[in-house]
């Protein structure tokens, strides 16, 4: 493995390997000294062209827990405001000597371009509404640690799926791992190419409540136009929100996940978000471990081809 750009690059064995390593790193993160010298002398470049809290912090923490150094680039207050192109910024950052780049950008495909321009291994940390493979991996790790396996789980992904790189990455990798996926969204928020996804769909959250192991909720992405395709927030909540009443109807073992940031009171009730079913904080901590696994694999395997 040289890059991690899309979940489509990962077969079941590759995912299992990264989740196994992720389990090991969960153990490392639980130690008194949660840091190992595995990537000492390596530098990880973080290029984050879109706002991000958890993903950027998580990669930063993952790199540092492996003793790698981190070069962080964000456009606010940088030469981007003076008109520097993505290519020039990438080449400038490359000249500072990172061994790998983590790239987030609003444009689909940007991480591929950065890889081609720089020749460095690249991890896609989210490109537009396209891919976010480390989010999918951290969700799989969270599910595997909770249920013991992913194979056979029934997962409902609820919300703004059209604009969600998380849904696209997660649905694909859940299918690879043998889980079944049901998309629950207004038809206007289903992806245009949904026919090519290996999923079922449902037109309201009530249709799936009784028969899922996992309810995976997504935020309405107003910044990508997701707020303009249904009449009102109240109407959205009435058909798609995980209210307390609905949460009470879920089977006892069913869990609730959310990639964050959450809009409490819209897709998820505040008390459900903090309740015993919610794995939201596990997702965040497992995210560090799985990103450690990705960085470790990419920076210690025998390359280049």
């Amino acid at each position: 493995m040289r890059d991690l750009l899309s979940v489509d690059d990962l077969d079941r064995a590759a995912i299992d390997d990264l989740l196994d390593l992720g389990d090991d790193f969960v153990e490392v993160l639980g130690r008194d000294v949660p840091k190992v010298p595995a990537l000492r002398g390596k530098t990880v470049g973080l290029m984050f062209y879109e706002p991000s809290t958890r993903t950027r912090l998580s990669f930063d923490r993952a790199a540092k827990a492996l003793s790698a150094d981190v070069l962080t680039f964000t456009p606010g207050g940088s030469s981007v405001s003076k008109g520097e192109s993505l290519k020039d910024t990438a080449l400038t950052l490359k000249a500072m000597g990172p061994h790998l780049m983590v790239v987030r950008h609003k444009a689909t495909g940007a991480p591929w371009r950065v890889r081609d321009w720089t020749g460095l291994p690249v991890v896609n940390a989210g490109d537009g509404a396209h891919q976010h493979p480390t989010q999918a991996l951290l969700d799989l790790l969270t599910l595997r640690r909770h249920f013991g396996k992913v194979d056979g789980l029934r997962v409902a992904i609820v919300g703004d799926i059209r604009h969600s790189r998380v849904a696209r990455s997660l649905a694909g990798s859940l299918h690879t791992m043998g889980a079944s996926v049901t998309l629950v969204a207004p038809s206007t928020l289903l992806p245009i190419d949904v026919d090519s996804w290996e999923v079922d769909s449902a037109a309201g959250i009530d249709e799936v409540l009784g028969e899922v192991d996992v309810v995976y909720l997504l935020r309405i992405q107003t910044e990508r136009g997701g707020g303009e395709v249904f009449p009102s927030v109240a109407e959205y909540v009435s058909r798609f929100g995980l209210t307390r009443r609905r949460a009470d109807q879920l089977p006892a073992d069913t869990v609730v996940m959310h990639p964050g940031p959450m809009n409490r009171g819209v897709e998820i009730d505040p008390q459900v978000a903090d309740g015993p079913r919610a794995l939201v904080t596990d997702q965040v901590s497992n995210g560090i471990a799985v990103r450690m696994a990705v960085l470790f694999r990419l920076l210690t395997s025998e390359v280049p081809e």
Binding site: V28, R31, T300
Partner: protein, 189 residues
Amino acid sequence: MYRHPRSRLGGLMPQVMTSDDLDRAIRRISHEIVERHHGTDGIVLVGIHSRGVPLAEQIASNIESSEKVRVPVGELDIGLYRDDLASRPTTRLGRTLIPVDLSGETVVLVDDVLYTGRTIRAALDAILDLGRPKRIELAVICDRGHRELPIRPDYVGKNLPTSGHEKVSVRIKGIDDVAGVWITDGGDA
């Protein structure tokens, strides 16, 4: 009885310790550990993956049958501490599990073969990240020489002078089909 399994290269592999020899050496090491420390107080055995782990268990069982005390046994994977991670493909890491607080304790690291000393260097760093023991000692089944670092064992099953192109293969109950120690003619050292 000495077995002579075929090596990968087709040559005969001389067996230097039988399964019984191995058991006796491990028993002697177990006694030496207790003798040196006048008992079992504060002793923590830590096996280095993979073969050090069942060896540490075996030492603990021996100590238990002679002293009627079960000393804590931990396991340590040094994969994240290796100094050649960049040049060697990485495999699945083993488990690192230390059941007790190491502060103030005497850690006895257990491994099958002592060679360059680099594995032990990595293990020392790993242990010191996990706690601050009073003392760290080293028990190995075979010391085959060729040290590249100033590291020496405290307990040795057998000193085996070897040449650099030979390989020492320790096989252990619980991991391998047959137990014993063989010298093989090359392959990966």
